[in-house]
Subunit: 351 residues, 2 copies
């Protein structure tokens, strides 16, 4: 295959972890006889500094024309605690999601046997957890009409969903459930919200097209509880944008392996792959960031290209690194920690 | 004191746990020389069956004229999975909150030394946790304009807040923080939502009136994570209605003592006290439900009347019951469990 991949390193530790993912992907390409053309582009605080826009038109053009986007992280402390600043890195993120049509955020939470004890949960609660959230990413209250009235004393936001938007996301959920354990949980607040009632009735109407899938409907507050109590009782979960924001982050910490969790944001034409951890500015430039989440995100990318063997090669290498202790300081005893680039080099060589 | 307390037993285990709370309150009244007039009223599924309305005008009148409301639980499985049913118990709950003006839901999460090991979290994560959420309860997306367009294919909900609503809730938060460790966390999503930006700027403007309180601002997704990771790093948290719904439920399970967690819903004129557990229909009528959350809610009621000694007497009795094993089956080894009424009688006698 000949692959054109847009490379958006972003801010903080983004560039460092992206570098390692590139090494690993290049090793995969060499072994399996593919060609990868990397096309770097600006985003985040770096793009604000360079051209005053966290997601410049040039970057959008590069992403739109690419076969996929590999993304590091964006965000910079300089923009924190000033949510009303005119230009913010997050705006770039939201603009990118909307303009590229990245409607489904795929967020797996799973455990590595060697890391189970890092979880804040007791072993018997977390062991065997392997769930995937599909979060709707281009609709809902993130993109509805908002504003002020009464001289600024009243503020409002609107959560809007169309049946088509729900169907598009739910279809991905049913398909994923078919490839996994055939269990789907639709998370909503249908006892209060009209948009949630649309979600529920739309998913209910789709059940007949997937007779093998068992669908359950749970309220968002109940899921927030059960994720802590019995995370391994879930498999595939679908939900709207804001609930997904909260629940996927909650889910990400229960495994204790947050630094290793990958994600994909899937669109009709192009998809984007990124680690779920942020830009972690305190660690930037120190060669201590864990590159594995980014590298496992690249594995999701190969999987989506239909290149399962390639994806498996990456995952196997990561498992070996974990088992032999070829890990960064977040996973190692202090004096046994390896550098970000050392881990990247080792994984590339392993492949 | 002469107290008129509206008594809303509600559905499921509601009547059983309310009975025990009445016994304990009567014992307190006797000991401290108060008079309590209990005024029972219908609510929930029981009220739907009787008069077709989950919160009938008569019940409202009784609550409005009372000094406080003691509430059991509402909800019945017959209404589950049918979120579009014309009359639902939850509607009664929302109507009650709005018509009584119960704007602040006070939800403590704390640990009992003897129950720490019931938590899904490891001991070192949960030990010492003692936090309180103040959830705004009569505004936001729960009560905004909602509906359908495009022949039902588009659904919307509106989240609206006024500066006054935020101030009213935040004031309670600052005051509570002053009585506790002087730490206040404002939970919002100000990087996306206009209503959250109003929350943040309003709270920021109030900081100068409470110079001793240290205020932090955190995004709702970050709080969903940290509640699982380091719950004992929080003290008082304030937030809007929907975020509060999700986060207070998440917080309730981390302690492992959910069956013991009380709550208050505070209004300008009257306040309501209820256990956070639901109507638990599977246990109804079996004399196995844990009455302690309702009894501890009654303790919050005495506290709010300025009757601290009375509140302390109840809490001490509960602690003794826990220590001596005078507990229901959720907390006991199977053959050592006591009945709901046995626990209630024991606690009343203790006082
Ligand atoms: C930065 C923020 C706007 C974003 C979101 O809320 O979607 C982030 O929390 C995420 O989940 O990717
Ligand atoms: C039953 C439901 C409407 C209610 C809510 O969402 O407020 C409940 O979850 C609660 O938290 O009291």
């Amino acid at each position: 295959m000949n692959l054109n991949i847009a490379l958006l390193a972003g801010d903080g530790i983004g560039p460092e972890v992206i570098d390692q993912a590139v090494k690993v992907c290049d090793a995969v390409a060499k072994k399996f006889d593919h060609t990868i053309n990397w096309i770097p582009a600006l985003t985040g605080a770096a793009a604000i500094d360079a051209v005053g826009d966290p997601y410049p038109p040039e970057t959008h053009k590069i992403c739109r024309e690419a076969d996929a986007v590999l993304f590091g992280a964006i965000g910079h402390p300089r923009f924190d605690n000033d949510p009303s600043a005119k230009v913010r890195p997050e705006q770039g993120l939201l603009k990118m999601r909307q303009e590229l049509g990245l409607f489904a955020n795929v967020r797996p939470t799973f455990t590595f046997p060697s890391l189970v004890d890092k979880s804040p949960l007791k072993r018997e609660r977390i062991e065997g957890t392997d769930l995937v959230f599909l979060r709707e990413l281009t609709g809902g209250i993130y993109f509805g009409k908002r504003g002020r009235e009464d001289n600024g004393d009243t503020a409002y936001d609107t959560c809007t969903y169309t049946r088509k938007e729900v169907q598009r996301l739910a279809k991905k959920g049913f398909e994923l459930a078919m490839r996994r354990s055939k269990k789907l949980c639709c998370v909503d607040k249908a006892n209060v919200l009209e948009s949630s009632r649309l979600w529920r009735e739309t998913v209910q109407a789709m059940e007949k097209d997937y007779p093998e899938v068992t669908v359950s409907y749970e309220f968002v507050d109940a899921v927030a509880m059960r994720l802590v109590q019995w995370p391994n009782s879930y498999d595939v979960l679908i939900t709207e944008n804001l609930f997904g924001d909260i629940l996927t982050d909650e889910a990400s910490v229960i495994s204790g392996s947050m630094g290793l969790m990958p994600s994909a944001s899937v669109g009709e034409n192009v998809s984007l792959y990124e680690p779920i951890h942020g830009s972690y500015p305190q660690a930037a430039g120190k060669n201590i960031a864990n590159p594995m989440a980014t590298i496992l995100s690249a594995a999701m990318m190969f999987e989506d290209f239909g290149l399962s063997e390639e994806a498996t090669a990456i995952r196997d290498a990561v498992n070996q690194a974990l088992e032999t202790g070829m890990v960064t300081e977040d996973l190692a005893d202090k004096d046994k920690a390896h550098g970000t680039d050392e881990v990247g080099n080792w994984l590339a060589a392993q492949i």
